[in-house]
Symmetry: C7
Subunit: 71 residues, 7 copies
């Protein structure tokens, strides 16, 4: 069994989609993470029900994350 944070390792440099607790989705390339699920994305796009916006490099605080998936 690979632990969940180990699976994040396999997503490094890949396009990922993050769902946040406020229902915002962030899409970008996963550059790094830590044990709190703080993550860094590059080429990030923020997608809400109404808008789609480019954000560039983003540091996201882990406690806002619901789930992460490959895109």
């Amino acid at each position: 069994m690979t632990v969940p944070l180990g699976v994040m390792q396999s997503l490094l440099q890949k396009n990922v989609s993050l769902l946040l607790k406020d229902n915002t989705v962030l899409e970008g390339v996963l550059q790094s993470y830590d044990e709190f699920m703080n993550v860094v994305l590059t080429d990030t796009e923020e997608i809400t029900a109404e808008t789609r916006r480019k954000l560039g490099t983003v540091i996201l605080r882990g406690n806002n994350v619901v789930r992460i998936s490959a895109k």
Copy 2:
């Protein structure tokens, strides 16, 4: 007595259903977990009151989990 996380061990590679705090249900094959109830699912489907959607591999942050059951 097998502790709760030990019971998760018995669900590895099985179909499970996760209820999240926002009432979303995720169904998929349990690949891994850790002591925070962070989990990894494959062949995941997200089921809300209105929608059903395929998500593939998902890393879920444990603090969003209400309960996990075999499916």
Copy 3:
């Protein structure tokens, strides 16, 4: 004085009723617990204001629990 988690020990293999923070009630047979009040129930029924549903074996994350009582 028996500490609260010690009282849970006396409920093992008994029918218990759990009230969750979202007002759902889970009834089932207590199989295990840990210091976070993560619990495992078998023969679980989920009871909300409108519905009653069989869930089988359930792993419940402790931080959703309000209270546990014998049934």
Copy 4:
């Protein structure tokens, strides 16, 4: 100065009233407690704005507690 948890010691085997975060009141005999304010009550009654209900023995998770007073 007796620390707050020491004052709880003086309430053991006494009738107490607990106010919870959801505004429910639990009244019962305090049997035990721990450092998280997890408590065990016997002969518990649950009192909400509309209802009054007997619950017997109850294990209450501390993070739902607002305050405890002698009754």
Copy 5:
């Protein structure tokens, strides 16, 4: 500089006013506290927008506290 919990020491046996997260105010004599801001008040009165009620001795769980001031 006296740290915040040291300032609480100077309020022991004094009338204090506590604002809670649900906007309730508790007034009473501060008997004890700990590092989580759990506190014990005697001769407590609970004051809400509509009501004023005597509660006697109260053990208050610290995570409900917004602020404490001398009265």
Copy 6:
């Protein structure tokens, strides 16, 4: 780089403005703080959308704080 709590050191005995999570603003003279951002203010004024009220000395629990700035 001076860490954030070190910057608070430079605000001691100065007029500060604190924004709380419930949108209340507290203005006063910063007397002390600790690593949880618990703070003590003197000559405190509480400012909400509708009211402005003198509170004297206030001990504020850190987890209610959004931000602190010099005034």
Copy 7:
């Protein structure tokens, strides 16, 4: 892989944009941070849906942060 807090190191003395949980945006020059994502900004502007306001130097408590990006 540079961990997320390491990426914050690269933003020191740069203009950054912080999104807070209450949807407020703070823009300013990042002066310092710690492992809780407490941060200090100078020349800060607070931007909400309706207003834009200068705040000068601000100490922000980390648990209010959703994300940080270069501006």
